[in-house]
């Protein structure tokens, strides 16, 4: 069960969840049991490839065929495009001229005034922003239980075709007014300089009340040439992996070599070893660059619990060539950076998304007052699963554990292959089951799998990684009917914490 904070609990209230009807659930359970086949009928064949895997294999084969047919450089060329960063819009394709609203449109109906303030059209979509006056009380959705309008607006083109909204948002616009934005991911073709924006009804109104099918004719014109568009470079990561820039860089204490080329100050690499972090994109702003780095994420799908191969308890940091740590951005800038990262993620290829989606991070690099190159560092702990098949069984008295308010000491050494750790104690947990308390200090173990032999548990959990005390961890198993008496817990798949890796990336404007 998620531990909701007070605000999440407030959100939960808005759903007005009803009491469940136990009779309904019992009836459905009976119906399901009546329909259940015999166990042997539901057994899977030994060699069963799930459809998802089949698609994955087919996709990989397709990528392989593409690479063979047209060569890797051309594949990279396919995924490159020309991008720009437009504030409040995001990362946009600049391959065709931008367009905007020729003039704002405004209309009043049923006491409501809509002002269509702006539209931004690019080769990869359209964003329309509008404001709305306060809704009259008689049409305003203000009571729980009233049906509220939630039909999204759409665009119709002169040829009769329709473009559906891909998303919408609202919030304070840069001028402080409260504005709504609608995003259309299909572009308006360049041969159409007009479209009709249709509101089937208005957000915030009661369904069936207030204006319906409200239409606004929008005329588009080229965006001004002085529109703030910051050049953005998306760097295909494959090119960097083929030419790792840091592979030969050795830490040094001097900021410059004899040839004048700055090298990485020694204090930056504080991990046990160094690996490369790649630059995914750069946006040039008037006083700074936004540089996005990422390292390739890895996981072991054969692990029942968390199979990630990196533990990331550290914040990313940025240094200049003098070894000076650069400050983190203020809150407003951080929000902008997150928005930017979202638009960047949408532009990553599927392959890059798999590798970098969860590890990318954007830094603000000042244009002046620092010594280039800058170095981004993300420290992580490496995790490995050296023994995936072996296990150890430990017997314990479940009745004694359930009768005790304190965990019952076991102090049993666990040796799985070469990995040694301790099962310190077993306690009952509040969800109806057992919590197994481990000490992985001897073998650097931070996680394992633990479950009762002969009993089906379908709920489990583990303590999260604690960087201050990583080797004391807990594993819990829950049961609908708590097993008691003499029980056997099977311990397997220990995760061993490895070296601290410093993922380092360097960048300078001339690169």
């Amino acid at each position: 069960m998620n531990d909701l904070n007070p605000f999440e609990k407030e959100i939960k209230q808005t759903y007005r969840l009803p009491e469940v009807n136990p009779a309904y659930f019992k009836q459905l359970e009976a119906k399901l049991q009546a329909k259940q086949p015999h166990p042997e009928a539901s057994a899977r064949p030994v060699f069963h490839i799930a459809r998802g895997w089949a698609y994955a294999v087919a996709t990989l084969l397709l990528i392989g065929v593409m690479v063979i047919a047209i060569g890797p450089s051309k594949v990279l060329a396919q995924i490159q495009a020309v991008f720009g960063f437009v504030p409040n819009v995001g990362l946009v394709d600049t391959s065709s001229p931008f367009r905007q609203l020729a003039q704002p449109a405004s209309d009043t109906r049923d006491g409501v005034t809509l002002d269509i303030q702006s539209a931004f059209l690019s080769a990869d979509g359209t964003i329309i922003t509008y404001t709305m006056s306060d809704l009259p009380t008689e049409i305003k959705h203000s009571r729980f239980g009233e049906p509220e309008c939630n039909l999204p607006a759409y665009l119709t083109l002169p040829d009769g075709s329709r473009i559906e909204a891909a998303g919408s948002s609202s919030g304070n616009s840069p001028d402080g007014s409260y504005a709504y934005s609608i995003r259309f991911s299909d572009p308006v073709p360049v041969n159409f300089n007009q479209a009709t924006l249709v509101f089937p009804c208005l957000v915030g109104t009661v369904r069936g009340k207030g204006p319906e099918d409200w239409q606004f004719t929008l005329i588009f014109k080229p965006a001004p040439e002085n529109l703030a568009v910051y050049p953005a470079t998306l760097i295909p990561s494959q090119a960097q992996i083929e030419n790792p820039v840091l592979a030969t860089v050795e830490p040094a204490t001097q900021p410059r070599t004899e040839t004048g080329i700055p090298v990485m100050p020694a204090m930056i690499v504080d991990g046990d070893r160094q690996e490369e972090m790649v630059v995914l994109s750069v946006v040039e702003k008037p006083d700074s660059y936004w540089v996005t780095w990422a390292y390739p994420d890895k996981s072991d799908d054969g692990i029942q619990r968390n199979g990630y191969l990196y533990e990331q308890p550290f914040n990313p940091v940025l240094y200049d060539a003098n070894g000076t740590q650069l400050p983190v951005p203020d809150h407003e800038t951080q929000l902008e950076l997150w928005e930017y990262e979202d638009s960047l993620r949408n532009q990553l290829s599927d392959q890059e998304g798999l590798l970098y989606d969860s590890t990318l991070h954007t830094f603000v690099v000042p244009k002046s007052g620092i010594l280039y190159p800058v170095y981004a560092r993300q420290n992580v702990y490496e995790r490995s699963f050296p023994e995936k098949e072996e296990y150890v069984d430990v017997e314990f008295d479940g009745s004694k554990v359930q009768a005790s308010d304190e965990p019952v000491e076991i102090n049993r050494e666990i040796q799985i292959g070469s990995v040694k750790f301790m099962l310190n104690a077993i306690g009952k947990n509040q969800f109806g089951g057992y919590s197994f308390l481990f000490d992985g200090t001897e073998g650097n173990v931070v996680q394992c799998q633990a479950g009762l032999v002969g009993y089906t548990t379908n709920m489990g959990g583990s303590s999260s990684f604690n960087p201050d005390d990583p080797f004391h961890f807990k594993q819990a198993e829950m049961y609908s009917q708590i097993p008691t008496g003499m029980l056997t817990v099977r311990v397997s798949q220990p995760a061993v914490l490895g070296e601290r890796i410093s993922f380092i990336g360097s960048w300078s404007p001339e690169k």
């Binding site: 009807n21 359970e29 329909k35 015999h38 039909l151 609202s170 957000v203």
Partner: protein, 187 residues
Amino acid sequence: MNETKALKKESLALMMNEAEGTHQTTTADFTELYRRNATNVFYYLYSRVRNVADAEDLASQTFLTALENLPKLRDPLKFTPWVFTIARNKAFDFFRKAQRRPTVDFDEELDQTQATIGELSQANQDRLRDLERLISRLNPLEQEYLRLRIVADLPFAEIASILNEPEIRIKKKYYRLLERLQAQVEK
């Protein structure tokens, strides 16, 4: 770390025992899995259709479909994300077939609503109404984050599996969404 604190930190991911080293889902397992997931699947569907009868109907369809397709579930550890994926599809079908949009059955909900908010102060009622309105204006994916996390009570790892997005990304977007909503409702 005391017991309560430690337990709160446990991420409750649905798991199934390995039976004799295999991953076969048995009929006994299915009943247990149904019991574990039924309420949350119902609540999730209710949050989509806002009508008890429709939510019950869709929940029944969801579990019957899950049972029929159980042999196709290669990894029983993924049962929860799998069954929620089925539930999501049922909800999409529901709206598509009837060309309906998520609505509230006014008559059915009103009594309960009055009872619920009647206990709140006027300020809290207003705040909840504002919050509800803000949530309704979120884009569909953001609304889905809230439903899966808060209504369906799923851990981020399983939401990631359902939405096919990296867990870290979902976490980041979710907490940013909360921050944004909180700022808007308190402005």
